[in-house]
Amino acid sequence: MGHHPIEIQGLVKDYGSFRALHGVDLQVARGEAFGFIGPNGAGKSTTIRCLLDLLRPTAGVATVLGARDLANNPAIRARIGYLPGELVMTGRRTAREHLTYLATLRGGAGRERIEPLAERFGLALDRPVNGLSKGNKQKVGVIGAFMHAPELLILDEPTSGLDPLLQREFLALVRETAEAGATLFMSSHILSEVEAVAGRVAIIRAGRIVDVEDVRALRERAGQHVRLTFDAPLPAEAARAFAAIPELSALTIDGARLTALLRGSPDRLLKEAARHQVTRWSAEDRNLEELFMDHYRQTSADAGGEAC
């Protein structure tokens, strides 16, 4: 059984003369919840479509559930649950007919879970799919991906279109599925969307994997923008005390206002701030683009490149 559920080696994909993937390498271990993060157009959907054999790689190999030659192993997809990035549901068929048809295509697997899952997500099964709102279509897609309890889930931007309440329900479903031993591979362009469930994440940008890391380490390295406002301007010795906190960088103190980038534990910052009267407080996760900027700065510094 030595294989990983997903093993991608040197995956290259061209659309005509445009190279969308420049040699992607990835391994997702059994039982892992893996996040696949990248900005729009990075190549997430292209990678995923290669895993499902909708696209044929220009070079490299994608091995899914031990099947190296996906073209000749379509039956492997019975063990996969796939949620497309752009769900298209046409025709007058109802959500129930759509999901029942999907179950039939899978030899009947999961048919009995349509009803309970629809109830859980509050989906009206007897409405035609083409008239459903984006969120409701997404629910149909989620049920379709999970209903046959597959051992591998490949989810392309699963939470897009779901409101916060449903996102929570979805994440609960993902957690249950992960606890049951399934492997999850989910893409997003926002780190915070996957960090609640993912153990590791890969970051893809312009068709290249730029980083594969533990989600907590990444988050810690990413840091937060912290803003504090005090009831009075800070004295000079207080400013020196804040500047001595190792987790803070890019510190600016402007009268009663403090802004800084926090990486790591907020403990020392909070204890120092508590010596004064705090009137406002905010901490905001940095977005992915800022992370990329860090990454490039770091790699060019490592390579002895020009300073910026």
């Binding site: 909708l54 044929r56 997809r77 899978r106």
Partner: protein, 263 residues
């Protein structure tokens, strides 16, 4: 063995539309066949003889003196022929390429079914619909023939029907296969409609300008020659139609299982 799921689903979803087409075919073919006795009284043949010979031949209206000649040119040679072409080419292009373009095909393509099974079952759904409509044409014509005592030789009518079925199946398959090979519905429509018009013209014009070889390379010529009913059964032509269809189907499948899908 379980029923082929894609075939069943496509037919189920198309049943209303197919019923509508069937009613339309029955009405139109019924109308054409039932007016023959009145046309015969009006001495249509004499009227037609006043027209230029080439024009009559090009339209296939060269034998109006018998019911078989009339039904052969009016129903089997023109109305049912043209409407079936429209239906088969439109459906053929929509059934695979149309659904791929809209994205609806993704559900099946990411299911455990092999690509070839999806292709074959959807093609089967096309042929099943064509079979149903051709059967309607045959049944209505035969019923009115018997009811009105028109005396059309039943075997000749059956032979014409079989050859019509093959011809329509060929062009429907061409639209289907060209669409499947490219993923573009417009290409399926364009290729099949262009070739249908070209082969109709080759068959219609060739003989009038003394170039008989034109109709012998035309699939419409293999079906129609001058009149699909009075000419009876031509095994070689039927075989040619079947072989052409098989070739087109195989070529489309070969490309479909190899290319990138849903791009």
């Amino acid at each position: 063995m379980a029923a082929p799921p894609v075939l069943v689903q496509v037919l189920r979803e198309r049943r209303r539309s197919l019923a509508g087409w069937a009613v339309a075919f029955a009405a139109i073919c019924g109308m054409y066949t039932s007016i023959y006795p009145y046309m015969a009284e009006m001495n249509l043949q004499a009227m037609l003889e006043a027209l230029p010979r080439e024009m009559i031949e090009a339209l296939g209206y060269d034998d109006m003196s018998s019911a078989a000649g009339y039904v052969g040119s009016a129903t089997y040679g023109l109305v049912a022929f043209a409407l079936l072409m429209v239906f088969a080419i439109g459906n053929g292009a929509a059934l695979l390429a149309g659904d791929e373009e809209s994205g609806a095909l993704e559900l099946e393509l990411t299911s455990p079914l092999p690509r070839a099974a999806i292709y074959v079952q959807r093609l089967g759904a096309l042929w099943a619909q064509i079979t149903a409509l051709v059967a309607v044409v045959f049944a209505v014509t035969l019923t009115l023939d018997l009811a009105q005592g028109l005396g059309i030789p039943t075997l000749d009518l059956a032979a014409a029907t079989l050859q019509l079925w093959l011809l329509i199946g060929l062009f429907g398959s061409l639209a289907f296969a060209a669409g499947a090979a490219t993923g573009r519905r417009g290409i399926g429509l364009g290729v099949a409609a262009t070739l249908a018009v070209v082969s109709w013209m080759l068959n219609a014009i060739g003989p009038t300008i003394g170039l008989e070889w034109m109709s012998s390379i035309s699939p419409v010529g293999w079906y129609m020659d001058s009149n699909p009913i009075t000419r009876g059964f031509h095994p070689v032509d039927a075989l040619l139609l079947a072989l052409a269809a098989a070739l087109v189907i195989a070529a489309g499948l070969r490309r479909f299982v190899r290319r990138d899908l849903m791009t």
